[in-house]
Symmetry: C2
Subunit: 203 residues, 2 copies
Amino acid sequence: MKLFFAGASPFARKVMAVAYETGVANRLTLVPTTVTPVAKDKLIAPYNPAGKIPTLVTEAGEAIYDSRVICEYLDVLAGGGRMFPTGEGRWKALVLQSLCDEALDSCLAARYETMLRPENLRWQDWINGHMGKVRQALDTLENDWVPYLNSNVNIGTITACSLLGYLDLRFPDEDWRSARPAIAVWHKAYSQRPAMAKTVPVV
Amino acid sequence: MKLFFAGASPFARKVMAVAYETGVANRLTLVPTTVTPVAKDKLIAPYNPAGKIPTLVTEAGEAIYDSRVICEYLDVLAGGGRMFPTGEGRWKALVLQSLCDEALDSCLAARYETMLRPENLRWQDWINGHMGKVRQALDTLENDWVPYLNSNVNIGTITACSLLGYLDLRFPDEDWRSARPAIAVWHKAYSQRPAMAKTVPVV
């Protein structure tokens, strides 16, 4: 299978972490790509009209996207029910994934505003609104999710670790740890898992 | 159950359409709300730190989000496997949902740029990039998905109908039909389904 990929993408990291956790990483051929909302990659568009990474192309030539669908596809390929719980446990794992995916989307919105958009067209309210959502998500993780994080390994915890790792990579001044000691401890421990250690984001 | 909701939201429409298709709509109490990326609704934030609609609160008081997770939750509540196929059929339904969700996200990005952002800070390349992705998604639907659309009813087809309905509501000048006659015919027929007719977006 072919995976369109970027080493700094937190969504591609989710996919690779699931691949390592479930033992299917050796079946993926990585195709490095660079995309932004205003610069599409021509290789991806025939498979995924949004032109986004990660996009997977199966051995049968079928396109699978976005990251949520690829992660579940790999989990099922490996037998199912490992990173995507079935039964009542499914909803908390998927809600945690959504919580962290939404925070990542806000990180990207704030980052595009400062890195991609011409300086004279930037809107501070936009950055503040999105970074406010990121901080609210982090506070929610600290206040409500620590027992869950400490006792589960699934698509939710992988996404939480990808979010915190992305903040370290792209928002080093955010200092997310100082007011949130419990998730800082969790993140340090969880990052030791081979699936996370092998997928530390790189620019 | 309580659903934070807006009558114009295509993501809330997906949830309501799944609720009607699976027969659980009468278990939902709708709470109308208005949110934008820079103006949060204080009612939603305790349940969902992204402050977005749709957000569901179950009878047990658990928050379920985002729209994808709510839709699957309602499908399972109704017995499962109806709007979310199991087995090999699952991936095409989920990829079609992603294709149309991504196009909707690009619609919203373009709309926020023109409706929310101060006029002197707007960036035409941003609008062009996102509307280019929307058009590519529509062309992909026209070229690759018409046989699938014509022979399935699931979360993918519901999302496709929500996307096209949203274009009619918010981008009436886009004239998406003229170069895409096959999905125009499909949309007209599919919109007659009670689940779609009862959820036509309103401002």
